[in-house]
Structures are given as C-alpha cells and as structure tokens.
C-alpha cells in the first residue's frame, strides 16, 4: 500500500516514511489477525456445523485473559509507535537545526508568494529575492522559513518533502525543511481556503550549488 507514496527527497522524510512503514506492518499484522479470527469464527461456528452454543459470559479473569492479553500486546505496540513517532516529530517540528537559507512564505487567496533572504540572510533587505509561485533553494541546504497568511488559513504542502504546515492569519510560524535532490516539485494548499483552493499551486525548484549561485546573482 505504501508504494503509492511519491518519491521522498528530504532528509527528515526518511523518518516519516519509516514511522509510516512501522505502523503499516504492526497494524497490518493486527488487522490480518483480527479479520482472520473473525472470519474463522464465523465459518467454524455457523449453525450448520455447530448447532449448540457454549455458555461463556467472560465473567472470570481467566476467560477475560483471552481479550486482555492481546490488548496488552496492543498497548506494547502503541508504546513502540509513540516512541519512534515522537523522535521523528521532534526532529522536524520541535528542534531547529542550523540553517543556511531563510525565506518568508506567504499564502493568500489563491497563490503562494516567497521572499528569499538572499546572501545576507536577512529578510526585508535590498538583496531579497521575491518570487511568485516558485520557491528556489539549494540542494542539501536547510531552509528556515517564516510562514504567514494574508487572509484565511492555508496549508503549505509539499508531498515529495513529506512536509506540511498550516499558515494561520495573525501568526508567524517558523520551521525548516531541506531537499536532497535537484528538480522541480509540486507545492499545493491542503486547507480549504475558498473557491480557488484547488488552483493554489506553486513549485519548489531545488537547484544545484552552481545554479543556485547563478539564480541569486540574477
């Protein structure tokens, strides 16, 4: 099922895919087990092959163990998933690594606009590069962003990066991402923002170091 995921091109995306795979296998095993037992019971104990039922209200602890032991195993799996999930989450959303680029992302009805801090690493200075609908970055650079919205709630979604963050009017949300492969990738809006919601797309252009220098100079 998970090979439907688009190609991952970020460093943190590996861990997000990892947690998805972990959940997929753990939960998939439980799913097969539960459905298997359900179907087995339904076939094995249908009236034709099992005309008289046994009396088992499950009032004793011994009987309930049949339910409680699997539930304890479920709890163990939960803890494993939580432990791994928290690590992946913290890496992306809680910790802020050293970043090499800075960009302000603005969502508005219905477009994404970007203000790249340029080589001085300061926003709102003369060497800022403003682009509409295209976000440029250098491959393997960690990009720090400031996400704002002009009107309603939008959500900055880059499927290939495994990255998503809502843009909320009145708030400035900081975070980071990176990309490990050059190319052009789709950016979309994942939060209903009005009639033009589905037309609100942009592209992420990941440049090689040489192309990036050339772009900055332009």
């Amino acid at each position: 099922m998970l090979n439907w995921l688009p190609e991952n091109i970020s460093s943190f995306g590996k861990n997000i895919d990892g947690i998805m795979y972990l959940i997929y296998y753990v939960v998939g095993a439980w799913f097969l087990l539960a459905e298997g037992i359900l179907i087995y019971f339904l076939l094995r104990y249908r009236r034709k092959s099992h005309p008289t039922a046994a009396y088992a209200p499950g009032k004793t602890g011994k009987a309930m163990a049949w339910v409680l032991i699997p539930v304890a195993l479920v709890l163990l799996c939960d803890i494993a998933i939580d432990a791994k999930g928290t690590a992946a989450w913290d890496e992306l959303k809680v910790d802020m690594p050293d970043t090499q680029e800075l960009v302000r992302i603005e969502g508005r009805q219905f477009a994404w606009n970007f203000r790249h801090a340029g080589s001085d690493g300061q926003l709102d200075t003369a060497d800022d590069v403003v682009t509409n609908g295209q976000l440029f970055m250098k491959v393997n650079d960690k990009v720090k962003f400031e996400l704002i919205s002009k009107d309603v709630i939008h959500s900055f979604f880059v499927p290939n990066l495994r990255f998503k963050q809502d843009a909320v009017p009145g708030r400035k949300i900081n975070g980071w991402f990176d990309a490990t492969k050059t190319g052009t990738y789709g950016i979309s809006c994942a939060e209903l923002c009005g009639g033009g919601h589905s037309y609100m797309q942009a592209s992420l252009v990941v440049l090689s170091p040489e192309d990036y220098e050339k772009w900055l100079k332009k």
């Binding site: 099922m1 995921l5 861990n15 997000i16 947690i19 998805m20 959940i23 939960v27 799913f31 539960a34 459905e35 359900l38 104990y45 249908r46 009236r47 099992h50 039922a53 046994a54 088992a56 209200p57 499950g58 009032k59 309930m64 339910v67 539930v71 479920v74 709890l75 939960d78 998933i81 939580d82 999930g85 928290t86 690590a87 992946a88 989450w89 992306l92 959303k93 809680v94 009107d151 309603v152 709630i153 495994r162 990255f163 963050q165 809502d166 909320v168 009017p169 009145g170 949300i173 789709g186 979309s188 994942a190 939060e191 209903l192 009005g194 009639g195 033009g196 919601h197 589905s198 037309y199």
Partner: protein, 559 residues
C-alpha cells in the same frame, strides 16, 4: 391528575404529529433522518461524479464551479454527521428502544422528548432553507474554520453560513433536550429487579453517548454564538486584524468534534452488542469490561482533540502528548471489539441480515480503526493530514458505524417497530452489494491520499502529481454508483415492510431483552402488565436449562 392525561386518546395530531409517545417520536426521527440520508447520498454522488470527470456535467447541475463544489462537500459532511447519523442512531433507535428495554411506559419526560424532535425538525427546515439564500449554502467545510467561514463574500452578509450555524446550533439544542431523557430514563425508570448492570448494553451505550455529547458540545454552542456575532455584526472574535484568533474556533470545534465520533460510534456498538449475542446464542462476552472500557474511552476522548490540529500552528511540543493519548485510546476500543469477536467463539451463528450487518460493521470498522493509527501519530500525520487518506479513514469508521449499524438495527427491530419483517432475501442482496461496493469506493481514497492528494480540491487533474492516479477517482465513483444501486433492494424491502398484515410475533428472534416481551408493535404504554426482571440481559445457552435462553422478564400469564 397525571394518569388521566396519559389515558386520554390524543387524536390524529397528538398521535402522529405532536406525539409525546417515544415510539412515534423515534419513527419521526427515523423518517426525517432517512430523508436526509437521501439528500446526503445525492450530494455524495455530486462529489464523486465531479471528481471523476471535473469538466463534465453532474446530473441536475451542469459542470460544477469550484465554489459550488465546496458547498456540496460542506453540506454532504454536515448533513451526514448531524442530520443522518445523530437522529437515526440516537434519536430513532434511542427513543424507540430505551424505554422498551427498561420495561418503562415512556421516556422520563415525554413533552421534552416531543420538543426535542420538533427542535430538530426546525433545524432541518433552516438547513434546507440555507440552500436557497443569496450566495448559496455554506461552503467552508463541515468544520467551518474561520477566517474563511467569516470572510465577507460578494454579499454583505454570508447568509448561507449564518443559517448553517443556526441550524447546527438548533440541532445541538435538540440533541441536548433528548440527552436529558436518554440519561434520566435509564437512571430512574428500570423495571423492578433491573439493576444498572442488568441493563442491556445498548442502553449503556446510549447513555454514555448522550453524556459524552452533553459534556462536549457546550463550548461549541458558545463558539457558534460568537461566530454568529462575527457574521452578523462584524465583530472579530475569530479575525486576527480585529483582535481575535482563528485557532480558538478549532479548539472549540474539536473539543466537541472528537467526542462526537464516539457519540456516533457507541450507539452503533450498542446495536451490534444486542444482535451478536442473539444470533450466536451466546452471552455478550465481557459485559462489564465493555462498559468500563467505554467509559474509559469516553474520558480519554476528551483529551485527544488536538490531534486534528497537529500542523495547525499549535505548539509542537503539545502534539507529542496528544499523539500519545490518541494512540492509547486504541486500548479500550480493542477491548470492546475483541470482546465482540470473542462472543462469536463457540457460538451457534445464524446469518440473518441483521447479523450480517453486525459482523460486517466489525470487519469494516477494524479497517477504520487500524488506518487511524497513521494519522494519530503526529509524525506520520505531517504527511497524511488533510489528504484523501483522512477522507478514506473517517469514512471507514463512520460508514460502518452509521449505515451498517442502522441497517443491522432496522432488520433486527423492524418487527418490533412495525409489526412486520423486512424481506430477508432482499436484505442479503442489500448487504453483499453494499459491502463490495463500499470497499470499492473507499480503498481508492486511502491510496489517493498516500499518493499526495489533498482534500477538498475541486479539480485534481491540474496537479501533475495527481494526474496518473486520476483513475482511482474513477474507480471510486463507479463504486459509489454500485453502492447507491444496491440501496434499491433496501428501499423495496422498506416499502414492503410498511404495508400489509402485521404478522410478526412478539419475540421472533428468541431474544432475552425486555422489548421482546411487549406486543409487536407495542401499544400506548408499551407493556400489558408491570414487567419484572429476573435475569441478566444475555442468558443464552445456559447449561441445564430447557430453553436455550432465559428471558429477562418474570413469566406473565398469556393474555
């Protein structure tokens, strides 16, 4: 005095329209809910048709504009949750069955009950009216997130959104009034001999659902009043430029919205908890653990709401906590589901249509539950949040809950409700058709989401990433056609079940709970004589007994 009022013949209007009888009110809820199910189903057709072929016309509308598509999506969600699921699962089944299962003559407060239905009816009228105001019905999603929902459009006042809020608020009030009855009646009106732990699981589930609803909806009602202010008076409670905060609404909404899932799930679990023991001739496995788990899940349900907001700008440190509570909630629900499966063990299973829908609900709900672990984990949710994966996931939880639960309940209790049986042969066609096409509709949605398809977009074909998975939309749409087509056998059985000779016995399924002591259908006052309870609700196949079940009631002389 009071007793005389009860015996007076209420006349046509008193019997069928402004009825205070819980059975009639239950049927009123049922028919209103089914009417809305048709409307919601038609909107579902609109969504699917449009997504499969965004540039071709949809029946009755031509090519949908993106704005109109948003309206259709919004109203589909709103209608299905608030005007189909709640009135049928709680309003109809709860009303009809709670007094009968307790051995009571009616709800605790019959007039309040009537008021509850008519408030609900009024909310239906308001919602219907919202389609016909300037600017059309609400289009900001069933969650109505500001600032989109309070944004000024072409018209100075967004009447569609205003009526949406009014309708939803009225519906909440109606369910609150009903909830007073669903809680008070089991506490106060059990037949002599019935302790709280001799109540059928259905009554427990209804009581828990109402309690959860009543403890969670209040803040949203207050929030809705504030949003009405924003819309009508131009205040800015949710608008940052005017000093408000749009995230406030999200907290109020999901503080209610997540418990609401359990408000829908629990009554359905109650329904199948009645049906599975009867058709496997076994006591419900782990009756008390199920009740305690339900209560635990209900309480946990109040501290998970922020998992709907992992990436909404919430403090990311809080997300880890909510992620843990969310995933832990799988523990109590595992107890409930495993217990239901254990009830089948060494049973003697009879596959009536009701039983098929009951076990079908478990089988499908397991998919809904397991797919939910991915979006419950904050890290994985970064990717799947607001994608079609979520759409697939919550349809896998809500469709089995609402529709399988309702169908199971209708096939099972129809003899008690209308004195006739629903056609079993048509019922089985209905079940298998629905099940096959249900999966055909929603598995593609899970895959679409994984492929990076965000929710609520009117035209997926403009995204390069999504063009090569567009065929999944087509499959899902054919799935929906199939699913709709296979509701026809049900409609036919439904119509047949309303006319003809009332030939159902009192206890056709040989069930042990008290509603089967009453005549089919029960008359005014429900029982011929004061019922007395001598046994638990699920005494099936007890060894050394003559019959394979012991009814809850003390035997009464035949009348």
């Amino acid at each position: 005095m009071a007793e005389e009022m009860n015996h007076a013949h209420p006349g046509f209007i008193g019997t069928y329209i402004f009825s205070r009888d819980h059975k009639m009110i239950g049927k009123q809820y049922l028919f209103t809910g089914l009417f809305w199910a048709l409307a919601g189903g038609f909107l579902a057709y609109g969504i699917r048709q449009h997504l499969a072929a965004p540039h071709s016309p949809t029946l009755g509308h031509g090519v949908m504009s993106p704005d109109f598509y948003n309206t259709v999506v919004t109203m589909h969600g709103t209608i299905m949750v608030f005007w189909v699921a709640m009135p049928i699962l709680i309003g109809a089944f709860g009303n009809f069955l709670i007094p009968l299962m307790l051995g009571a003559d009616d709800m605790a407060f019959p007039t309040l009950n009537m008021l509850s239905f008519w408030t609900f009816f009024l909310s239906s009228v308001v919602l219907l009216a919202s389609f016909f105001v300037p600017g059309g019905a609400a289009a900001s999603g069933w969650t109505a997130y500001p600032t989109l929902s309070v944004q000024q459009g072409v018209h100075p006042i967004n009447w569609g959104q205003v009526l949406w809020l009014l309708a939803v608020a009225l519906e909440f009030v109606s369910m609150l009034l009903g909830g007073v009855n669903y809680i008070t009646t089991p506490l106060q009106m059990r037949a002599p001999g019935m302790g709280l732990f001799e109540m059928p699981i259905f009554v427990w589930m209804q009581m828990a659902a109402s309690l959860i609803f009543m403890l969670s909806v209040g803040p949203l009602v207050g929030g809705a009043v504030l949003m009405l202010f924003d819309l009508l008076f131009g205040t800015g409670v949710y608008v940052p430029e005017k000093g408000g905060d749009p995230l406030l609404w999200q907290h109020l909404f999901w503080f209610f919205g997540h418990p609401e899932v359990y408000v829908l799930l629990l009554p359905a679990l109650g329904i199948i908890g009645e049906i599975i023991p009867v058709f496997s001739r076994k006591p419900l496995f782990g009756y008390k653990p199920i009740i305690w788990s339900t209560i635990a899940a209900g309480i946990l349900g109040f501290i998970v709401w922020a998992h709907h907001q992992f990436i909404s700008g919430l403090d990311p440190k809080a997300a880890s906590v909510f992620s843990i509570t969310t995933i832990i909630i799988s523990v109590p629900f595992s107890i409930v589901i495993f217990s239901m499966i254990a009830t089948l063990w060494k049973g003697s299973i009879q596959f009536t249509t009701a039983m098929l829908f009951a076990v079908g609900m478990i089988a499908e709900f397991i998919i809904g539950g397991t797919t939910g672990i991915i979006n419950g984990s904050a890290a994985a949710d970064v990717y799947v949040h607001d994608t079609y994966y979520i759409v697939g996931h919550f349809h896998y939880t809500l469709f089995p809950t609402v529709f399988y639960g309702t169908f199971a309940g209708l096939y099972y209790w129809w003899p008690k409700m209308f004195g006739r049986h629903l056609d079993e042969r048509l019922g089985k066609i209905h079940f298998w058709g629905t099940t096959v096409f249900f999966n055909m509709t929603f598995i593609p949605m899970l895959l679409l989401g994984l492929a990076g398809h965000q929710r609520r977009i009117a035209d997926p074909t403009i995204f390069p990433l999504l063009r090569n998975v567009q065929y999944l939309h087509v499959i899902a749409t054919y799935g929906l056609y199939g699913m709709l087509a296979y509701q026809l056998p049900f409609c036919w059985a439904f119509c047949k079940g309303l006319v003809g000779k009332k030939d159902a016995e009192r206890n056709p399924w040989r069930a042990a709970t008290l509603e089967w002591l009453a005549p089919s259908p029960p008359g005014h006052g429900n029982f011929d004589k004061q019922p007395e309870v001598v046994a638990g609700p699920y005494e099936y196949s007890k060894p050394e007994e003559k019959e394979d079940f012991i009814p809850q009631w003390k035997p009464q002389e035949a009348l």
